[in-house]
Amino acid sequence: MLIDVNCWLGSWPFQRFAAGTAPALARRLQAEGIDLALVSPAEGILRPDPQDDNEALFRAVARTPALRPVPVLNPSLPGWPEQLRRWAARRIPAVRVLPNYHLYDLDGPAAAALAAALVELDLPLLVQLRVEDERSQHPLLRVAGVPVETVLAYAQRHPALRLACLCPYFGEAVALATGAANVWVDLAFAETLDTVVSLLARVPAERLLFGSHTPFLYPRAACAKLERAGLPPDAMEALRSGNARRLLGELLRR
């Protein structure tokens, strides 16, 4: 089984997505061999309060079991603890945050409170380091990536929190995955010659997650990283699904 921890559903103002509905996205992923995907609402990236987009996502994927909804949470809004409790009751597998788009700091009190709440609920946190390559962003929407040092400091302050970093570049992925025991990284933006083999020379295999960042990127690109890695079966199984299962635990079961 191949589990993708980094997918989106919805629309984005700077890119036209081919798979606009949940069934279409599931078909697109399945065509590339991706069996199960964690999906967040793309509109929630820019919307200050992503709650309406999260609710729309829950409705959209309700009849598509290959897509598991991961709501986007903005802990700088006062109502988030109630939202989080409601989502936990719906057995979400994780929560996704975008500190650089929702304009708060992982060093601040809101993020600390979120970490404590997630630990109590035994939920992992997906931190979106970036959505687009900074060099190719729209000039009116320049958003820097979340700094690696900030993420590592956050992870170290909350050692019981399971934290997956999405879309780090190659060097960032190495720094994150080797910098704290409770940090995982996905493959979507990490790239160099023979990406996975190069990563595994620097990073423990159990810290890597398969993530495609579909539909922003071609899903086949992430699949190609795994297919060409020539890994032994146990390492391949870990990257395809084992590490994601360990991160997400029972939460993957609906």
Partner: protein
């Protein structure tokens, strides 16, 4: 057979890097690669001696693996025109050299490119030019696709391959669209979904060539943006093979 129109050797690994590229490319069906030189090894303004080192490295790879590589001669248009002309002459004397690669030393609109373009026109050889719409700011005299379009307008008889489809973006594709002497390679940045289809729709599959920008990028990942795009098989063959062979003067 797939042709990769955009790979770089490394001066610090003159044998190891080409070997790795060949070993990783073969299972993917990449049988021919165009070496552009280790063009950023010495920064944005390599001096004459450094230019010669870069080209010597490319020439050595062509001699060592003549079946697998073709090459481009890297020059800095800011150098003495006599040196630039002599370096092009030296490089293109090699039977596997196919043209010139320009990076960011001088902008594509600069008149100092004209003697180079005249030489390429006279010889019927290609130019591959870096281009990027970079939100974070240009480096050195970096060219945008609009600059490439201006160059193509001045030199309509020279075939120009503009590097980096995704960083060019829709604006860059539209910049070069009116100029039938401009092709675009698919290399550059992340494999952003939809850009290859956009390029095919706006330029035609006849004007795109597959490029990886390896070893900075992953051959399989960069190939996947063409294999994973919604294209007909005929369009894919044009991008992966036929257009490149024609530009390089290789038998199709």
């Amino acid at each position: 057979m797939i042709v990769d129109f955009h790979v770089h050797p490394r001066l610090d690994e003159p044998v190891e890097t080409p070997r790795r590229l060949l070993a990783l490319g073969a299972p993917l069906g990449i049988e021919l690669m165009l070496l552009l030189g280790d063009v950023l090894r010495f920064g944005y303004q390599p001096d004459e001696g450094q230019i010669q080192q870069i080209n010597d490295d490319t020439l050595a790879a062509l001699d060592r693996w003549p079946q697998a590589f073709r090459g481009l001669c890297h020059v800095n248009p800011g150098h003495d025109p006599a040196f630039v002309r002599a370096e092009i002459e030296r490089c293109l004397a090699h039977p596997l050299m196919r043209g010139v690669k320009l990076e960011v030393s001088v902008n594509a609109r600069d008149a100092r490119l004209d003697p180079i373009m005249a030489e390429l026109q006279r010889r019927g050889r290609i130019l591959l030019h870096h281009a990027w719409y970079k939100t974070t700011g240009r480096v050195a005299e970096e060219s945008t696709p609009a600059d490439i379009a201006a160059l193509a307008r001045r030199w309509p008889a020279v075939r120009i391959v503009m590097a980096h489809l995704t960083p060019a973006g829709p604006r860059g594709v539209q910049d070069v669209r009116p100029h039938a002497n401009v092709w675009v390679d698919t290399s550059g940045a992340q494999p952003v979904a939809g850009m290859v289809e956009y390029g095919v729709r706006e330029l035609g599959a006849e004007r795109l060539v597959f490029g990886s920008d390896a070893p900075g990028r992953d051959l399989a990942v960069q190939l996947a943006r063409v294999l994973g795009a919604d294209l007909t098989e005929a369009q894919r063959q044009l991008i992966l093979r036929e257009n490149a062979l024609r530009l390089l003067g290789e038998p199709c």
